[in-house]
């Protein structure tokens, strides 16, 4: 019954993105009210407005260039991106702290943002050109190593764990779309669950039972089954040993990463202030420009990581609901667009875009309400950030482009 709505998918995309952008600009205006200016004499709001127009041009370009061209140039773009990522490491070598930018005159450019789309295009191109069966482990391994691991490692070195994680997350949905069977997806993520379960014997036992049950009912070959079983047992056994071999401060760091509230003066401070901001917003919020947490700057990183807390404080649950609704519309529409594609390349890229936006949203918002660790991923269309704005709008352009060309092969 809803399917009829998605016949106008382009309208839904445009409306939801516009809505999120408006929300983002309102929130940025609010945070800018208490901070006179950012770099170059412009405040975050004004600076982001400029980036928006740059992004709009990028969107139009992405919309009008025929999809075929992207496939053709995807390897070139990917290569260029890797060079840029390497350049970031080399240029900023020796500097302490974050090394994420390349400075081009007056603006800073973040190649890791470009890498998201570049990896996606290159993978999609590779997977759509040849008939590669990803269910064969060798192929899985090759594609992963070719397209995901380099970007992951470069970005991890910057260091930017959050963004690096994006590339690992991207693998499974994209591969699934390209033909990886659900059962295999399960096998790939199984060790991750075993790792988490390994700290409690009964959880571990339970996880192993599920794996064994799956192996039995899926009628895998004995060889594969044994290998999978052994690998999971090994992961489960070695994790506590590795954990105990970590020094106490290292353990502490991981614990704080996972449960920041245990460190109320350090990492936990941000979470606590963010929750206070959101919670004090109540149902209708304190009103635009009236959030004390935001305006008095108790809320840290309010223009980037914790911008959704600004929405929560000043516009309340109502604002949060609208924001999440817009994201839901956008993501579902993006998946629908992926579904409509006759071209495999377009489909894979579309689902990749949905994954990227969705993951960012989940991690960022989950972080502001204390559900997920603080990783520093921005909220698409809402957080301050020039490169992200341009790339995100480009991806919107791609989606609209693919929607227009949905019947083409």
């Amino acid at each position: 019954m809803f399917d009829r709505w998605f016949q106008k998918a382009d309208v839904l995309i445009i409306v939801s993105v516009a809505g999120m952008l408006i929300m983002g600009f309102l929130a940025l205006y609010s945070t800018s009210a208490s901070t006179p200016q950012s770099s170059g004499g412009l405040n975050y709001f004004e600076s982001q407005l400029i980036w928006f127009f740059v992004g709009l041009i990028a969107l139009l370009v992405c919309f009008f260039v025929p999809p075929r061209i992207y496939a053709d140039y995807s390897y070139g773009i990917y290569g260029l991106t890797l060079v840029l990522l390497l350049a970031v490491l080399l240029i900023n070598a020796g500097e302490t702290g974050a090394r994420r930018w390349i400075t081009l005159g007056f603006l800073n450019f973040q190649p890791s943002e470009l890498a998201k789309i570049a990896v996606l295009l290159a993978t999609a191109n590779y997977l759509s050109n040849s008939d590669i069966d990803l269910n064969i482990f060798k192929n899985f391994f090759v594609v992963t190593t070719l397209f995901f691991i380099p970007a992951f490692l470069f970005i991890l070195r910057q260091p930017d764990l959050g963004t690096a994680m994006v590339f690992l997350i991207l693998i499974l949905p994209v591969f699934y779309w390209a033909g990886l069977r659900g059962g295999n997806v399960f096998l790939y993520i199984a060790p991750l669950f075993v790792l988490m379960a390994s700290f409690n014997f009964y959880f571990f036992l339970f996880a192993m039972l599920i794996i064994v049950a799956y192996l039995y009912f899926s009628k895998r070959s004995l060889r594969t089954g044994t290998a999978v079983f052994l690998i999971n047992i090994f992961v489960g056994m070695i994790t506590p040993v590795l954990w105990n071999n970590l020094r106490e401060y290292q353990q502490q760091r991981i614990k704080i990463f996972l449960t920041p509230e245990a460190d109320p003066l350090g990492a936990g401070y941000q979470i606590i202030q963010s929750k206070v901001a959101i919670g004090s917003g109540g149902l209708f919020g304190k009103g635009f420009l009236n959030g004390s947490q935001t305006q008095l700057r108790f809320l840290p990183e309010q223009h980037t990581d914790f911008i959704f807390a600004v929405v929560g404080e000043e516009f309340g649950f109502l604002g949060v609901f609208i924001g999440l609704l817009l994201f839901a519309i956008f993501l579902i529409t993006a998946v629908k667009i992926a579904n409509m594609q006759r071209s495999k390349f377009n489909g894979i890229v579309s689902i990749g875009i949905a994954t990227l936006i969705g993951f960012h949203m989940m991690v960022n918002i989950g972080m502001t309400i204390g559900l997920l660790p603080v990783t520093g991923l921005p909220l698409p269309f809402i957080s301050y950030g020039g490169s992200a704005m341009v790339i995100n709008l480009s991806m919107v352009g791609l989606l609209l482009n693919f929607y227009r060309h949905r019947y083409e092969y």
């Binding site: 004090s280 109540g282 649950f317 839901a328």
Partner: protein
């Protein structure tokens, strides 16, 4: 499906934070940004009975430093000007927010402040605030009465919620006892601050309150007499308590040696403090109410009252004093080695004959003696408005049984007590009270220091009334007899050196032997003889005999007191004394001339 789940989880979480726990977080957000600033009240002034200022508050300057605006040069300059530890300043700075003024020094004097103000351009981030500081007009004479102020400690905090950590409260004396009257009420101001502690605006004006100043206190003390009494001691250790016998108001309450109260108004220099603590003369000790001494012969009056009231003797009861007395195997001596000859009670009081009172003590017995000692206010606190008052010690039969064992209670003990020696211990304020009881023939008032309070704002006064106490177990005639004896003491007996021309009064000397060296010199008296107004209790530690040291102090003090009242004229006394001296000299010369022809 997955997207729905994720969005739903997030929504539920937002719901729980914003709607279910919304109120809690709203409170937290208010706590975050709204700070309470305490406004301190001005402490009440202290005046003497005539409205003369004794203690008030003077503006003092406290220095603050703002971290975000200052630099290391400023910190090192301040360190050298104010003689502060640089690490200490930096530690304090780190404790506050970057925009928060942090107090680095209090009670800076005007000169230092002026120096700093002249160089303010080179000292960015430096601020100063005016804060009241206690100021005492008389540095030493009032030290023990007023007591000191200091920062509240943990034990004091437990007592009541009125106090908060960091409060300045009375530590001793009147300042401590009447802290609640003097301190006033704090005011509060609610201010909104941002994350770095910068003040944004004042909020919650309805809940804010202004500080209310403490009550002004009027003491019963006469500042002029207090200072004069201080001068009379001329550096000797001792105490003087003078009360108005008609209402129990303490006119003078002096303990010597003393200390400078103004040392304690700011942070106390640790060197000065340790010097005061280790001073063998114990200047911090209030001798009027916290030191106990054997009373010596002044206590013979108690024995006389007990014997007369119990009808053990009549005033005509006679004893022959050969200069010594045999109790059991011990021989005790009278202070007059030749002996006083045969004496009746009045003669014995006048001449302070030990032998007479040894014998009298044996007649009275320890039970009756200690009963009368207690009746006359000894062995219990007078209740003066000072903390740590001592009760002294009046030994009873039980006391001796406990200490010596039943068999060892000898007649020598009571004989010794009757002349005010032995285990008996009294405080100078008890002696002052005793003199008041004698003056009023058994009626007295609790000795007190508070005359009235006055609200600084409304000027309404609160005068304290002290009810009289009547010792009705002792017949007035008994008091009349000892009063007569004490009149003789001054007129022609051991207290002759207290005598002042024109005013007849009653007194009793005491020379208390003690293990700490020379005898303590005592004198108690009340004046005038008819319709007494004032009672004195005086001790000079290790001063020697009562007649030689304490009695003249009493005389001079009374001269000054009656001079103030227009009842005594220094000039007239000098003339009369000169006449007496001239007459005497003439007589001597006449005698010489008579002898010359021989």
């Amino acid at each position: 499906m997955f997207i729905f789940t994720v969005i739903l989880i997030l929504l539920v979480r937002f719901l729980s934070i914003q709607i279910i726990s919304g109120d809690l977080y709203e409170l937290k957000s208010i706590e975050n940004s709204v700070k309470i600033e305490t406004k301190f009240p001005v402490r009440g002034n202290i005046y003497d009975r005539n409205g003369l200022l004794i203690a008030d508050n003077r503006p003092a300057f406290s220095l603050y430093l703002v971290r975000s605006r200052t630099n290391s040069y400023t910190i090192s300059r301040l360190g050298s000007i104010l003689d502060l530890d640089l690490d200490d300043i930096e530690k304090k700075l780190r404790q506050g927010g970057p925009f928060q003024p942090v107090k680095i020094a209090r009670h800076i004097d005007q000169v230092t402040l002026t120096t700093l103000q002249e160089n303010i351009l080179e000292l960015p981030g430096l601020e100063w605030k005016v804060e009241p500081k206690r100021h005492y007009i008389y540095d030493k004479a009032f030290a023990h009465v007023l007591g000191t102020l200091g920062e509240i400690d943990e034990n004091e905090l437990d007592k009541t919620s009125e106090y908060e950590p960091g409060d300045i409260v009375g530590k001793k004396g009147i300042e401590k006892r009447l802290d609640r009257e003097l301190r006033g009420r704090k005011g509060y101001e609610f201010i909104k601050v941002d994350a770095v502690g910068r003040v944004v605006e004042k909020v919650n004006q309805s809940k804010s309150s202004l500080p209310y100043p403490g009550n002004d206190l009027y003491l019963t003390i006469d500042a002029g007499l207090q200072v004069y009494a201080d001068s009379l001691f001329m550096g000797r250790r001792g105490a003087l308590v003078a009360t108005d016998v008609r209402n129990g108001e303490i006119l003078t309450m002096l303990s010597n040696p003393s200390y400078d109260l103004n040392i304690f108004t700011g942070p106390v220099d640790s060197k000065v403090w340790s010097e005061l603590i280790s001073d063998t003369l114990h200047p911090l000790y209030d001798r009027t109410s916290q030191s106990t001494y054997p009373p010596g012969s002044t206590f013979k009056i108690v024995a006389a009252i007990a014997a007369l009231n119990e009808a053990i003797i009549t005033p005509s009861w006679r004893v022959n004093c050969p200069g010594y007395y045999q109790i059991g195997r011990r021989t005790v001596r009278c202070w007059k080695a030749d002996g006083h000859g045969t004496l009746d009670l009045l003669g014995a009081i006048k001449n302070s004959c030990n032998v007479y009172f040894y014998k009298l003590g044996l007649e009275i017995g320890i039970d009756i003696w200690s009963k009368y000692s207690n009746l006359l206010g000894f062995g219990s606190k007078t209740g003066v408005e000072l903390s740590n008052e001592k009760a002294g010690l009046v030994p009873s039969e039980e006391y001796y049984k406990r200490v010596y064992g039943e068999k060892n209670i000898t007649p020598g003990l009571i004989a010794n007590l009757a002349i005010g020696q032995g285990e008996l211990l009294v405080t100078p304020i008890q002696m002052g009270q005793f003199a008041m009881i004698l003056a009023n023939a058994g009626t007295y008032y609790r000795p007190h220091l508070i005359h009235k309070f006055q609200d600084k704002v409304s000027k309404t006064e609160n005068t304290t009334q002290t009810a009289s106490i009547k010792i009705d177990k002792i017949r007035p005639e008994v008091f009349d007899i000892v009063k007569k004896g004490m009149g003789d003491v001054v007129a022609e007996g051991t207290g002759g050196r207290a005598r002042i021309i024109g005013i007849k009064f009653a007194g009793k000397t005491g020379t208390a032997q003690n293990p700490h060296g020379d005898s303590h010199s005592w004198f108690i008296c009340f004046a005038p003889y008819d319709n007494p107004e004032i009672a004195l209790g005086i001790i000079v530690e290790n001063g020697g005999s009562g007649s030689a040291v304490a009695a003249p102090i009493a005389g001079n003090y009374l001269r000054r007191y009656f001079h103030q009242k227009g009842m005594f004229d220094y000039e007239k006394e000098r003339k009369i004394l000169y006449e007496i001296w001239k007459k005497k000299k003439q007589e001597e010369e006449d005698k010489l001339q008579i002898q010359l022809p021989l």
